[in-house]
Structures are given as C-alpha cells and as structure tokens.
Amino acid sequence: MRRANVLSGAALAVFGLLMLIFVIPAQIDQGPPGMMSPRLVPSLMMGLTTVLAVLLCATNLRSVEDDDGPISRAELLALGKFGVLFAVAYAGYALIGPLAAGVVILLGGLLMLGERRPLYLVLLPVVVLGGTYLLFYRLLGTPIL
C-alpha cells in the first residue's frame, strides 16, 4: 500500500495543480463583481486535494511499513478487458444498432469471462434481451430506444 499511496498521492497532486493552473482559469470565467466567484469552490477543492495529496505522499515516503500492492494483475487485466468489451460494443452500436451492442456486451462478456457452454452462450443473451424488451416495451409501454 505504501508505494501505491505515494504514487496516487503524486498523481493527485499533479492533477490538482494542472486543474488549478490551467483548466480552471481556462474553463471557468471570473464572473461579475458582487457575487461569489464561480471559480471559488472548484479552486478551493483542488487546492485542498493538492495539499492533502502532498501530505499523503510525504507521510508514506517516511513510513517504513510495506506490503503487497493493492491492485492485482488479474484485476487490472479485467479492467482492460472491460475497456475492450465496451469499445467493441460501441462500434456495434454506431455501425449496426443498439441491439448489436447488447449482444456484444452479453455474448462477448460471457466469452471473455471464460464461459464456453453453447447452451448458456445462446440462452443468456436471448433471455436478458427478451426480458428487457418485455419489461420496457410490453409491461411499461415505454420504448427506451
């Protein structure tokens, strides 16, 4: 956790400074006089984040206690897989339609997570998509797409 704390503290401090110096001045106008500046609260929060992040960095640099990193390789891999899955699903949505995106998420998700039994690969997407259709279009009468 120590290394992770130092790294996340450093990252947050950089993020806070970037926001304070570049993004907030560029993205938020100063506002008319006589009112609380619209920049006040975002700047305060980023200032607070930066200070605390530096503090987090500093206390952990000095501490000697150490153990395994908090994020396992498998978890990062899963997050990456999710990214790929949603990217393919979006391509399906843009090129073919929402139904394709649904199939990609369900079928692709199953394949990605290691399901190989054909019965489940067919049944689950059919049941979920069919159930969604029944719930929204039939029971509630609201077309959601």
Partner: protein
C-alpha cells in the same frame, strides 16, 4: 399495437444502421405521410410541465395522424441538447420536437454556446403559452408593481428570487430605473421558487407560470408577457407599467430545417386539433396553462419578431452571453 411496436423497433434499428449514409440526402415530399411512427423529442425531463403538455399533444396528434407518436425525453441545457439533436435528424417529419421556444428566442442571448436562430428550424405551430409573472405572498402589503416599487424604496436590501439570468435582468432593469437596493437570491427550479416565496425567504420572485397553482398563497403583481394572463386578467403587464421588458414564451413544434412544406402543414393542422380536445384541455386546464394556438405561418413570424425583440431587450440591459 404489437405489430406497430415491432415495426417501430425494426424501423429504429434500420434508421440507426442507415443514419450515416442517408443523412445528407435531401428529403422528398411523401404522399403517404405519415406511414410509420413519429418520434417526438422533449428537451425536459419526463414529468415536467412542458413534458406533460407535449405528451398530451402527442396523443391528440397521434389520433389525428393515425400513427403512434413516441415521446422521447432528451433533457440538457434547457432544451439545447434536444434542439441540436433535432437539427441533425432527417427532415422528413418523422423526428419532431415539442419544446418551449426559449431555446431559440432567449437562450442565444444568454449562452455563448447556444447560437440558434429562427432560420435553423421549421416551425409547425405553437399550442400553449407560459404565464410568466412577478409574484409575491398573498399577504404582501402591495398589490401591483407600482405598489411594490414604492414599498421597495422604503425597504432597501430586500430579497428577490431569480431562476435565471433573464429573471435577474428583469429585476436589475427595474432597480436601475427606480434606484432600488435589491439582493438577488439565486433559485434552482420552480419548486425551490415556491418554497422561497411561501417560506417568506424572498419578497418577490419571477415565476414561469407555476404560481397559478397556488391562488390562495400567492398573487401576481405584474405579468411579464405582452398579453394579460387569461387566468389573471386583472393584473397589468409589465409593459403597461412602463418598463418594456415583456417577453413571450410559447410551447410548440420544432421541425428540422428543410422539412417539406406539406408535412409542416399536416403537423400544424394535427396540432390545431388539440385546441378542442377534452383531454388536452383537462391537462392544460388543471395547470392553468392557456391554449393559444398559432399556425405554422404565424409561428414563424412570432419567432422572427420575438428573436429580434428579446435580443434588443438583453442588449439594452447590457447582458452578455456567458
């Protein structure tokens, strides 16, 4: 119904699939319009006042046209998100939008990123108007705007509830002319406005029309429209008080630019039927929303004239788009 629904789904899938390739093709006039369901965008959340009127109008028009009209809420930026989506839709009459006309005749003067003009859309008519006004508690010591100004001169530092930069501008103009000392309290939405007035947090507030539901607790001191409100005909308009700040807001049908004229006319005629429809009257009546139908031609004129007029009012007041 089930076949229609299924066809609707298929049609949507097909239109999603082909949207890219067909976007650029100019629409051809269609003798059989409408022969499939129509999508009606509403730029506010489901359940709001405009959404409700839009849904009621959709019901009447759907019966008239013989095709279902599916109401789809696309909230965001006071309707600008929905309007932008409408601009990108095919001008074939199958994507329409029901919304307040403020997106075109007010928002561009307040928001830098919204730059619509009346020429960006076709207008198939307006059906209702918003009864905006300056409201106060029933027991307030003044009854009209002149009385309020006299009271305010005696009570500097009073609070005024503002829902938007337009509401702020209205009070600032009055204060400038009369030399009033006002604290403008920002409010977030109509519900909060009612709260602030009933809870005596503010002395005066600008209401978009919701106040007519509280006749026993609130009264209007001036109408902010060019006409006197049908539900409150005794209250003078702000122009009658000599301030020239009246701005009308109406709700009606926007169509994408380039929609064929006969389709505009068909939709305009279908919308006209709402004037006499009992369900529509019940929906608007229970919320005191006046039905003021303008057909396609009048709607276009209304847009052009209010666009110019409102722009002038905001420029005179020195309001810059943010």
């Amino acid at each position: 119904m089930s076949i229609l629904k299924r066809r609707h789904v298929l049609a949507r899938l097909a239109s999603f699939a082909m949207a890219g390739s067909l976007m650029a093709t100019p629409a051809l006039a269609d003798d059989h319009y409408p022969d499939r369901p129509i999508t009606m965008l509403v730029g506010y959340n489901a359940g709001g006042q405009t959404d409700l009127v839009g849904r009621a109008a959709a019901k009447v028009m759907s019966e008239e046209l013989g095709q279902p009209i599916n109401v789809v809420n696309r909230p965001g930026a006071g309707g600008a998100v929905a309007a932008r989506e409408l601009q990108q839709a095919k001008p074939d009459g199958y994507t329409i939008m029901f919304h307040a006309n403020t997106v075109v005749n007010t928002a561009p003067f307040l928001m830098k990123r919204v730059q619509f003009t009346p020429d960006d859309f076709e207008w198939a008519g307006f059906i209702t108007a918003y009864q905006a006004g300056l409201v106060t508690q029933k027991e307030s010591p003044f009854d009209d705007l002149d009385g309020f100004v006299a009271w305010a001169k005696e009570n500097p530092g009073f609070s005024y509830g503002s829902l938007s930069p337009a509401a702020r501008m209205t009070m600032n103009e009055i204060a400038k002319k009369e030399g009033l000392d006002v604290n403008i309290v920002p409010l977030n939405g109509g519900g909060e406005m009612i709260n602030a007035v009933l809870g005596n947090q503010v002395v005066l507030a600008l209401s978009g029309g919701i106040h007519s539901k509280y006749p026993d607790q609130m009264k209007m001191v001036a109408a902010l429209t060019t006409f006197r409100h049908p539900s409150d005909p005794d209250v003078k308009t702000i122009d009658e008080f000599g301030y020239e700040l009246a701005m009308d807001t109406r709700a009606g049908l926007y169509l994408p630019k380039g929609t064929p004229e006969d389709i505009v006319q068909t939709l305009s005629d279908a919308l006209a039927k709402a004037q006499t429809d009992p369900t529509f009257k019940q929906v608007t009546g229970s919320a005191s929303i006046p039905i003021m139908y303008l057909d396609a031609d009048k709607a276009k004129q209304e847009m052009v004239s209010t666009f110019g007029k409102h722009g002038q009012i905001f420029r005179n007041a020195g309001v810059e788009p943010q």
